[in-house]
């Protein structure tokens, strides 16, 4: 993975010092909250319902064991012994004290990490395919480009105060696993007919209040020109993106307003001035950065390991895990393993300090000391020998990482929701928990098969509910939490935005609604057709008709504590995963 040189170290150290000074000026009153808010957001510090939250950048989701141990240390020393992995491959700590944040940044700097631009109206952490470098369908490893763009975007002086946040995602594989079509800029690394590497560039995708699938602005930008090209996109946006209305400020609105042809014309007019200029990426720089992502020292191994195959035959639980959590690898005899952070009863994406330490140890023991964070809020050991799989499974089981549910209904993508977030209309984590408990039957889940369930507590769509096969959105009606259900959304190459099925439901109705949707699917599916494919084939109507045909019982006990009570504070001790379970 990328390692800092003296310049990276100096920039991060100077940032930590700068933020320490800003915090002390805030605490002394020299900075007003209005002045400080934007500064702290640019450093990933949010003020949530109960406490400050610190979001730490995990560039393109890649972590070393030492970095994961540092997270464990931060969780123990500064938080309530746990952290939360996000849908943008970052980690956040929900219970930090503002006055501790400078010390946390110093700790992070010691392992080449920071919280720069993890929030605010600037270019955010660049996300990437979690199987970059190991996927069988990979055309080009996107990580060197992600790192080069990370450096370009870090403290970019012209783009620190954009109309709104700005997100990049990059994929280098035939199948898009980075959801590039729902980012402000989506980059797909491609090769042209001459075998030269470049980028297909999508612009103006995004979720939130106005979900839009990105539009192609250029089918091939040579890799050397990617900085100058995206810089022109952001420059046009910085000048003309709307600033009068927060909800219309993302680049997608500008692209829609101008039309892609006019937007492209403006971008290319600007690009004329910089194309081929000093910001053109040099072969030397690409080589320097690429060297950090060279393949580790793989052994020469047979394609399949006989003992693993035999163990699968005799142990159904292991076979289930192999089927769901183990992914093919481009190198013979290796596999990538997803450690599930979606165990029933645990908030999706949450990990304790003990689990973090243990994950670091697993990485060292089985996967060259590296881990990845996925945008589905799980962890990946990317380079595991197949002959180690049984042993890894045993170890992962002990740690609560081996739930064989990757890609299944209980692999819920979930935002922090009303338990933590000041923006939320409704709780997400307790709903994910209730759903996990209602459907906690591994045979049933495997029978239902691949399905993306995404739960966002508000329209900001941190859990990408629009691109869930089933999406759940928390809405506020008269001060109460309600949930709107949509179906037919999808990420990946055939990305689509889900359609709302009808009027919203109470917390206690949602599991029954899901059960009905699944019943319609089971009735109509062909063989092993996936839920999303059935929805595409038969349309929304049969689902909608069945869900609303008879009244849906409201299981009030499921909702747990009264929502009204939650708004006035938490009257009891908070367990590690969420204050409100």
């Amino acid at each position: 993975m990328y390692r800092y040189d003296q310049y990276d170290h100096r920039i991060v150290a100077e940032r930590a010092a700068q933020f320490r000074d800003q915090v002390s000026r805030r605490l002394s009153g020299e900075l007003s909250e209005d002045e400080f808010r934007i500064l702290r957001l640019q450093n990933g510090v949010y003020m949530q319902i109960h406490a400050y939250m610190l979001r730490i950048a995990v560039p393109y989701g890649l972590l070393s064991a030492a970095q994961v141990r540092k997270f464990a240390h931060i969780a123990r020393k500064y938080d309530r012994d746990y952290g939360h992995f996000t849908t943008r491959q970052n980690i956040q700590f929900n219970w930090v004290k503002l006055q501790d944040t400078p010390d946390i940044l110093d700790e992070l700097a010691s392992v080449e990490m920071h919280a720069i631009q993890t929030s605010g109206n600037c270019i955010r952490n660049i996300t990437c395919d979690e199987f970059a470098g190991v996927a069988q369908d990979e055309i080009v490893d996107p990580r060197p480009y992600a790192e080069i763009l990370r450096q370009w975007s870090t403290f970019h002086p012209e783009f620190g105060y954009l109309p709104r946040k700005f997100k990049f995602a990059i994929t280098g594989a035939a199948n898009d696993r980075a959801a590039i079509a729902v980012h402000d800029i989506g980059l797909a690394v491609v090769k042209n007919a001459n075998g030269e590497v470049g980028f297909r560039v999508l612009v103006g995708g995004g979720l939130g209040r106005t979900p839009v699938i990105g539009t192609e602005i250029c089918d091939f930008v040579p890799w050397q020109d990617v900085i100058t090209y995206v810089e022109s996109i952001v420059r046009v946006y910085n000048q003309y993106g709307r600033r009068d209305n927060l909800y219309k400020a993302r680049i997608k609105i500008l692209v829609k307003a101008l039309g892609i042809e006019e937007f492209r014309r403006q971008v290319e007019a600007d690009w004329e001035f910089t194309r081929g200029g000093p910001c053109t990426i040099t072969t030397e720089e690409l080589n320097r950065v690429s060297a950090f992502f060279d393949a580790p020292a793989y052994e020469t191994l047979p394609v399949a390991d006989a003992s693993v195959v035999a163990f699968q035959d005799e142990n159904k639980a292991f076979a289930n895990w192999m089927q769901r959590n183990v992914k093919s690898h481009k190198v013979s005899g290796y596999a990538s393993v997803v450690l599930s952070l979606k165990k029933t009863g645990v908030a999706p994406g949450d990990v304790t300090s003990a689990q973090l330490d243990a994950a670091a140890q697993l990485a060292e023991r089985f996967s060259f000391g590296e881990l990845r964070v996925t945008h589905m809020q799980n962890l990946v050991l990317a380079d595991v020998k197949q002959s180690d799989l049984a042993e890894l499974w045993q170890a992962a089981k002990q740690l609560g990482f081996a739930t064989p549910n990757i890609g299944l209904l209980t692999d819920v993508i979930c935002c922090p929701g009303g338990d933590f977030c000041a923006l939320a209309n409704a709780r997400s984590i307790p709903l994910a928990k209730a759903i996990a408990e209602c459907f906690d039957d591994i045979d049933f889940l495997h029978d239902i098969g691949e399905i993306d369930l995404n739960i966002s507590g508000c329209v900001n769509a941190c859990a990408h509910h629009h691109i869930g096969h089933i999406g759940i959105l928390g809405v506020d009606k008269d001060g109460h939490e309600w949930y709107q259900v949509s179906i037919g959304g999808a990420q990946g190459n055939k990305g689509s935005i889900g359609r709302v099925i009808g009027r919203s439901f109470s917390f206690g109705q949602v599991p029954e609604v899901l059960a009905r949707l699944l019943q319609v699917y089971v009735q109509h599916r062909y063989d092993d057709e996936r839920f999303i494919d059935t929805v595409r084939r038969i349309g929304c109507e049969p689902f909608k008709a069945y869900v609303y045909e008879t009244p849906v019982e409201d299981d009030k006990a499921l909702a747990g504590v009264e929502y009204e009570l939650l708004k006035v504070g938490v009257p009891y001790d908070m367990p590690y995963y969420s204050p409100r379970f």
Binding site: Y7, R10, I11, L39, F155, Y161, P278, E285
Partner: protein, 171 residues
Amino acid sequence: MIIKNKAVVADDWTVLRPDYNDNPKQVVVPSGKIIVPFDVWQAQRESLLARTDLGVWFKSCDRPEELQEDIARFSVIAVDFSKFADGRGYTIAYMLRERLGYKGELRAIGDVLRDQLFYLQRVGFDAFAPRADKDINEAVKGLSDFSVTYQASNDEKLPLFRRVHRGVVNE
């Protein structure tokens, strides 16, 4: 007092700020060293051309390229930040320097605060009038928050990877 070339210095320019709904054609431009709003310059250009003691300032929604023809006349151009979080002024400055070839003083005025100065100087500002309620001697420290930068901008014509030999670990 303003910050210029990283020092706090005296300043004898006056920024003319007409009322929001004043007609630019009728705004009276006093004598002396006055920085006039760009729309006033446009509206009264014929009569103001004779003056050699004027500067011009842009609102964040103004288009600097519309000044192209006259740009060489000015030794001071200012960009107003009505709110520090409105980042359009950064691109205006970059355009004035990089695309329109402006070489004179480029001054940030309005909601100008210490914690934005570093970026502001990078995109081409060399003079700053911090908000009146802030200590200018404190604000000047913001210019030296960082000693290294990754990207090219107006201050550094080359990105870091072309400026230095990279890859030396440990410091």
